[in-house]
């Protein structure tokens, strides 16, 4: 069994390492913001992308309506903390804690003294 497993692992590695090296050139393409960029030789597609500005590339990636999905980094506009959302969380959690205090300290002690 060990021999089979070792052979399978080696076969997998050898079979796909060629693909890996071939794809290495394409990987990380289009990340002109300096993040995770590996020095690679441009492919035909890269040449096309290299002629675009980052905004054009972004627009190409966001060709559909709406937002969401991964890898869709838009230009960042700094915003302050969302106080209404944080206040809502604080209020809900405080309410639960108050229920807990009521249950444990007020209701039970009241019941014990009654």
């Amino acid at each position: 069994m060990k021999r089979i497993a070792l052979t399978a692992a080696l076969a997998g590695l050898l079979l796909f390492s060629g693909t890996a090296l071939a794809d290495e050139q394409q990987k990380n393409d289009g990340h002109s913001d300096g993040h995770g960029t590996t020095q690679v030789q441009p492919t035909a597609n890269d040449q096309q992308n290299m002629n675009m500005t980052p905004e054009e590339h972004q627009n190409m990636n966001m060709g559909t309506e709406g937002k969401g999905g991964h890898g869709s980094h838009e230009d960042v506009v700094e915003t302050p903390p969302n106080i209404p959302v944080l206040s809502t969380f604080a209020a809900i959690n405080a309410a639960f804690l108050l229920v807990g205090i009521w249950n444990k300290w007020v209701r039970k002690k009241g019941g014990a003294s009654a």
Binding site: L13, T64, G68, S72, N82, V85, F96, L97
Partner: protein, 459 residues
Amino acid sequence: MTAPVKNTQKTLAAATANAKMNFMNVPWIRAVIKSRWYPGIIQWMVLAVFSFIVFELVAGTVNPSRNFGTSMTWVLWWPAIPVLFLVLGRFWCAVCPFGKISDIVRKLVGSEKPMPKFLKKYGIWLIDLFFIMITWSDHVWGIVESPRGSGNMLLLLATGVIATSVFYERRTFCKTLCFLGGVAGNYSRSGMLELRGTPEICKTCKSQSCYKGNEKVDGCPMFEFARTMDNSADCNLCGNCVKSCPNNSIRISPRKPTSELWGIKKPRIEHAFLAAVIMGIVFVQNITMLEIWQEILSAIGKVTGTTNYNVNFTVAFVISMMLPIGLLWLTAKLTASKEAAEKVRENFVRFGYAIIPLDLAGHLAHNLFHALTEGKAIWFNTINLFGYQLSGDLSLTSAGTVQILQYITVVLGFIGSAYSVYRIGGRASWRKLLPYYTLMILLAAANIYLFSLPMMHRV
């Protein structure tokens, strides 16, 4: 020396050799786990870091590449977590900040009511549902790439923890509602560590303090009874049972990865379903980060007749989820000797567990990309907290190296899954188990194909 004495010595020697290694026999490990500071001191440290991460996420920069919270959560923690599950089981849950919040809330204001029957019965289904919903929400609202979104998600989880801890005993949330706990449980079944009671000692025990606790130590927070525990899905390695056991019955032993999957005594459909769902989620995570994702969306858009991202993504999401579930069901049906629904269900449940090593490998391989090509973000953003302005190439290694590591990881996962099929199938002939081997090959090949395509970054 007489012959019977020699035989007894031989038997003892053989028994010792066969006995599993017990980390509790290592003095310093025993001292650490029995210490009153374990795991509390680690919990407090993790809680402190977690609080700062949440602060950074909700109040720091909205640029994910520069946000300390984003890099710590999605570039360090999320890729590291499957490795932790594989090596240390659910140890993370022992030091998880949400678990600590639960402990604090219960201690201060908890009503300690028993876990509701509904949660006991349908908890894992709820975990399945939450995991699917969180993944869907992540893609629709971009939670991972939005520091504010990530912060809100963590606060939402904290709210769930507080709400359940106010009313219910022990770690009800972790056991029945935490999506990460569900994943942790499944992955830990493949893990290399197990905590068990020693049957010969436990059968004479009258105290049951491992479950109930004693005056000094709480009972098992995960509702486990060491005497009957036969899996590692719900053991946090918190050490409570080690501390409370009056007979030193608890052992912590290494084991072969995936070995627990080979003989699950009571396989459950919700676990098998979760295993298939995780594979679907790995597909979704990979597909949406591919550069051909926009082309896939456009193709779906032609069918749905809309360019709305949420609609088209939901279609892709449902297909990705249904694919492994459908394939597993189809395989179960193919191998059922009769068309009896019971047999199909039984096969689905039993062999669903065999997907777990591939789940783990897919999850790990996907996140290897982020950890190794965005890893310097952790360093940069940590240093930048002290007023520096470090920036530049975030990669730790080349994309080609990452790809080779991804392929190796998937191949190892495939070996684990294929061997689990072999053992779950009672070492039956390869012809008999061929449909399951084919399923594992298909899932591994799909993963390898996805990893061979160019991928976008997270930060």
